[in-house]
Symmetry: C2
Subunit: 308 residues, 2 copies
């Protein structure tokens, strides 16, 4: 089963996927987050809709798509979570490292990525994203998948130019090592991601949330990223270093997950890590769009690009 959210007559409306290319608006259902909260009690009504009159289903291109969850409580993104990264990492954690995107940076399928020349290079990062069903904290690894509602697609747009600009090399204040209660200064690098990961439109997401029963193994999905019709990434989620269950168990030790939270699992880049087809060469600021991300069993997320 696949869900999306569209705008119809100025209001949010939940739609159901019918076959590959059609979407059926659900009468009176305005919030996918609410559907998820009420799951599985809401499931029979959804199945009934799918078994009923499908003549009102229309082609996906006829809708104005919003992010499937328009305002998730938080959007957590896992960094460098692909086996193609390991030989480039000189030091770093063995656990998932994470940053946030603001919910206000999310845009739906077909909505434009809006860039400025001053953003510098901006490249796509195609990712599988988890949609949290039941929330929780301190979720054990073996119960983690019970907290997944389904999966969607995120394009984790990134500006390496702004990343470089927002990096400090400084002497951080630490307690003195001698325990004197005085301070010492430690040579430190810190990068602040608000701009380079969180600028408006840097989070294309959707169009579909595929329920987990549609996705028997989230670690065996192909991910493709096309730029202007040319394949720039082809990867498989088996190359994720930290699994969905690992990430849920880890992150929920630090932040309680809530229904509708999004966890983007990290950039697929295995096949593009070498040679000229790297996503890092796809500078949307100078090259424009569109950029498409397809994940098997979920769908295709398409984004035009416009300059502001």
């Amino acid at each position: 089963m696949r869900f999306g959210t569209v705008r119809a007559n100025g209001h949010e409306r939940v739609v159901l996927g019918v076959g590959e290319e059609r979407a059926l608006p659900l009468d009176g259902v305005t919030s996918l987050a609410r559907v998820i909260e009420e799951w599985p009690a809401a499931e029979p009504a959804v199945k009934q809709a799918l078994a009923g009159d499908l003549t009102r289903a229309r082609h996906v291109d006829q809708f104005e798509w919003l992010p499937p969850i328009p305002r998730p409580g938080k959007v957590i993104c896992v960094a460098l979570n692909n086996s193609a990264n390991t030989d480039r990492i000189m030091s770093g954690p063995k656990h998932p490292a994470m940053f946030l995107k603001p919910a206000s940076a999310l845009i739906g399928h077909g909505q434009s990525i809006r860039l400025r020349a001053e953003y510098g290079r901006v490249h796509p990062e195609p990712e599988l994203a988890v949609v949290v069903g039941r929330g929780g904290e301190d979720i054990p690894r073996d119960a983690a998948m019970d907290h997944v509602f389904g999966y969607t697609i995120m394009n984790d747009l990134t500006s390496p130019t702004m990343r470089g600009e927002d990096t400090f090399h400084y002497r951080a204040i630490h307690p003195a090592a001698d325990g004197s209660g005085d301070v010492s200064y430690v040579d430190t690098w810190v990068t602040y991601p608000m701009r380079y990961k969180g600028s408006d439109t840097f989070g294309p997401i959707g169009p579909w949330v595929a329920t987990k029963d549609d996705i028997p193994d989230p670690h065996d999905l192909t991910i493709r990223c096309l730029h202007q019709g040319r394949v720039v990434t082809e990867d498989n989620t088996r190359n994720l270093l930290h699994s969905v269950a690992d990430v849920i168990a880890f992150v929920s030790r630090y932040t309680a997950l809530e229904t509708g939270d999004i966890i983007a699992m990290g950039t697929a880049l295995k096949a593009s890590a070498k040679g000229g087809s790297a996503v890092q060469n796809v500078d949307l600021t100078t090259l424009g769009g569109p950029v498409d991300v397809t994940i098997s069993g979920i769908g295709t997320l398409s984004s035009p690009v416009e300059m502001r």
Copy 2:
């Protein structure tokens, strides 16, 4: 005028400050964000409440405080924005650098900071925070203050231990400098702040939002931070490198501001930068609380500490 949000009978309720130490619940007013949206049309009713029966006002300690805006759309934090930092920065941007805290990390006045031994060192960072009134993008500097509703207090809890753990030293993929379309590898440091800045309870905030007419100059406020009754920071917002107007103008080039968004202006640490009284020596994980932050004209934010 000062506003807060409390929990009463399981529901959110907006309160008004009466004198220094009392709060008056506003009948039927459940959302400060809504009050701000409706400002200045909502102002006369508020003034009427203050001119009316104040016998229902109770001492602040008799309330259960929530974050003044319990779920802001985003919480933007400015990094290293204090003149005490400048001699420690070897390289870094001249503009404001920013990160996000998840709204779910916010806690109200009197609510406990909850820590685990595995979080390592966690120290307080006392900060002035702006509450956005009218939203907007590309806000000109000279109109920026029109978008401020008021000011509150944030304690930007930070774990330097997790910061170190979540730092990667790696070879980032960049386009080849020769324009061949191939890639090159660039020695890069990246820090991911979700855990070290965004873990649950890492954002004590409130209790009060002072409206901007109460704060004639946001760059002439004293900030004090007390740990277990001992002063660990005494500073003044005149030491901010980037002013409120600068930050609003800058950030709104990248992300549209919305009513109720919070912008924490950066850690006050001028007086504590040297010697043994640095906030960095206040490890709440080993020392416990409480920690209090006071800003002149706004109030005092108090947080006990408990171990999970």
